[in-house]
């Protein structure tokens, strides 16, 4: 088959899946939060409320769009796009499964592309989404939005540092920036070769840093509702508001996939080295799904931090720990 067509099919399937997963995750967020508070959650639209994201989307599209007086209209409109697009782009390098053969057609490895610098691409593009938040906050001409945007950018930059240092530990162990190579290095059939067992401290720091990186509870200072109304998206309405959330949920899903890839061996099935692709895909979904659930689970368990505590944790605890972890990893690798 035409290789261009194969890439087109893979891209549309993976992006469609990502948008669908993000929509489902908004539903899951509401469902799980309801269950944890002994409520039912949305259950009116479709069976078990499964069509609720669709109803929400239709509602968002038909809402009036507002642009506040004194706002910078072009940047105001650009910010939601700047927030959503980088979050969606990053899924391009996530390896979902090995070689896929469907209906006698060889589709190659199940990922949009296997970049040699996959990790670098992911971190660089993912880091761009902070622009959406701070531009949206600044262009709104509102003090709450501005403060929310400032906090979000400070937080994302400080946690990105330890996040990248932790990723470097994994990269140093594998010797490659390619996410598929990192997965394959862990795919030995023995779950003990997963990085979570050789880098337990790094795993814990990474998971906590992803929470801060995606602006999730207990670190959601960008939209700290008791203090800042709704933070950077206070002035946004209609589909522009929804785009911010789409970006946030896409970033969460990508981060869940990244955690599964870096530390839980991605699509590697325990005790079955060369499993067929659909089993690998199922395993990957189970691992990433657990981390996606963890985002929701933690949100409805923990209260919010204080901003100075967050900065303290980021700069005085995680950064030294991540540096020390990288140092020890490097020392062990060079001595072994």
């Amino acid at each position: 088959m035409n290789p261009f067509l194969i890439v087109l099919i893979k891209t549309s399937v993976i992006y469609g899946g990502l948008i669908g997963a993000a929509a489902l995750m908004t539903l899951a967020e509401r469902k799980f939060s309801a269950w944890m508070q002994l409520r039912h959650g949305p259950n009116r639209v479709g069976p078990w409320g499964l069509l609720q994201p669709l109803a929400d989307g239709i509602k968002f599209i038909f809402k009036e769009e507002l642009c506040p007086d004194g706002a910078n209209p072009w940047i105001f409109r650009l910010a939601p796009i700047m927030s959503a697009v980088p979050a969606m782009l990053t899924v391009a390098v996530i390896p979902f499964a090995g070689n896929v053969t469907l209906f006698g057609v060889d589709f190659g490895n199940l990922s949009i592309t296997d970049l040699d610098i996959g990790v670098l691409f992911l971190v660089a593009i993912g880091g761009l989404s902070v622009y959406g938040v701070i531009l949206g906050g600044w262009a709104s001409n509102s003090k709450y939005s501005l403060l929310g945007g400032l906090r979000a950018s400070a937080q994302m930059i400080s946690y990105e540092l330890s996040l990248i240092l932790i990723i470097l530990c994994v990269v140093a162990m594998t010797g490659s920036l390619d996410l598929r190579a990192i997965t394959e290095a862990q795919n030995t059939g023995n779950p003990l070769s997963w990085n979570v067992f050789s880098q337990p401290l790094a795993f814990v720091i990474f998971v906590i840093a992803t929470f801060a990186e995606t602006n999730r509870h207990p670190f959601d200072f960008a939209e700290c509702e008791p203090e800042l109304v709704a933070g950077f998206h206070t002035e946004y309405s209609s589909m522009k508001f929804a785009l911010f959330f789409l970006g946030e949920y896409c970033a969460m899903i990508v981060m869940a996939c990244l955690t599964a890839t870096l530390f839980l061996g991605g699509y590697s099935v325990p005790f079955w080295e060369d499993a067929p692709w659909f089993i690998q895909l199922g395993t990957f979904f189970a691992k990433a799904g657990f981390f996606a659930f963890l985002f929701i689970w933690v949100r409805w368990t923990l209260p919010r931090f204080r901003f100075d505590q967050l900065m303290h944790l980021g700069w005085k605890v995680f950064l030294p720990l991540a540096l020390a972890n990288l140092l020890v990893t490097g020392a062990v690798i060079s001595l072994a």
Partner: protein, 166 residues
């Protein structure tokens, strides 16, 4: 002066993570507990004879109203929700309402009409739901208010029991 004693935290508490995991185990356990929300239209509110719902008129076994249009409920109504026009009748009770109208938007479900009635003709039912598209549709006439004696029997028994105390 208030002296606040701060608890010195142990290492496990200062590490946060064990305590966070403890909290997360609690929320995870709660997910499988029975839900306390009532799914209202499917699960109606529980009612019994004590429930003071909307007032309804009692019909006798022959289908005629027990009301003699004496106007006591109309006078007792603090919200002026009741309007009665009486007329003569050949029946033994001699008078019956030509028009008996309760404005359900005015009614405050206080139950004074029920207390005032000397002929056991008006009772607070267990019906609680009230919805409509126009104001006029909330003016309930005899056709909407009439209920058989069996339907109102539990409330009648209850009122009799209460009145025996006095």
């Amino acid at each position: 002066m208030v002296i606040v004693k701060r608890k010195t935290l142990t290492l496990a508490e200062r590490l946060y993570l064990p305590e966070i995991l403890r909290g997360m185990s609690i929320t995870f356990g709660k997910m499988f507990k029975p839900k306390i929300t009532r799914q209202y239209p499917e699960e109606p509110l529980p009612t019994n004879e004590v429930t003071r719902g909307q007032p309804r008129l009692r019909a006798l076994v022959d289908g005629n109203l027990a009301c003699v249009s004496c106007g006591l409920c109309e006078a007792a109504c603090p919200a002026y929700a009741i309007t009665i026009d009486g007329q003569e009748t050949d029946r033994f009770i001699e008078r019956e309402p030509e028009k008996f109208e309760i404005d359900m938007l005015r009614c405050i479900l206080c139950g004074f009409c029920e207390e005032a009635c000397p002929k056991e003709a008006i009772y607070m039912s267990t019906e609680l739901e009230l919805a409509g598209f126009t104001r006029a549709s909330f003016k309930y006439g005899i056709d909407k208010l009439k209920r058989s004696t069996e339907e109102l029997a539990p409330r009648m028994e209850y009122i009799k029991r209460i009145n025996q105390r006095w």
